[in-house]
Symmetry: C2
C-alpha cells in the first residue's frame, strides 16, 4: 500500500510541498527541522508514504502550522 497512488496521501504530500516551498526550504532543511530523513520527506511529498500521526505533527511543527492544516486539502466522500 505504501507505493500505490492513494489520493489521500497524494493530497497530503502536495500540501506539505506547497507549505515547504512557501517557506523556501529544501527537503533537506525541512527534514532537519522535523528530525526526519531527507528522502523520507521526498517520499511523503510524492504520496508514497502513509505517514503516521506522530510524523504528521513533526512535519507540521517544522512548518510552523497546526497539524490539521496539513489535512485541509483532503476531502473524504461523506454519504
Amino acid at each position: 500500500m505504501t507505493s500505490s497512488k492513494d489520493p489521500i496521501l497524494a493530497a497530503f504530500g502536495s500540501r506539505v510541498r506547497q507549505l515547504r516551498k512557501e517557506r523556501s526550504l529544501s527537503q533537506e532543511a525541512l527534514a532537519d527541522e522535523a528530525g526526519l530523513d531527507r528522502s523520507y520527506i521526498g517520499q511523503v511529498e510524492r504520496g508514497e508514504k502513509n505517514v503516521s500521526l506522530s510524523n504528521i505533527c513533526r512535519i507540521s511543527n517544522a512548518l510552523n502550522v497546526p497539524p490539521q492544516s496539513l489535512l485541509e486539502t483532503i476531502y473524504v466522500h461523506q454519504e
Copy 2:
C-alpha cells in the same frame, strides 16, 4: 513506544472517543464502519497506537467528520 503516553496520540484518541460517544456507537460498530478491528479502535482511543493517515481518514469517514477535525484538540508548541 506503543504503550508510552504520547500526548498527541492521547489527544487524538480522546477526540475519537468523544465523537464516537456523541453518536452512541460502540467501539465495535465504529470499527465495523471504518473497516478496522474492534481491539484496534480501543487501543487508538487509549492513545496506544500511532495511527496512520489512511486510518485517520477511515475513522473520520466512519464518524462523518472531516479528518482535520480529529486533530483539532492537538496543540503543538510553536516557537
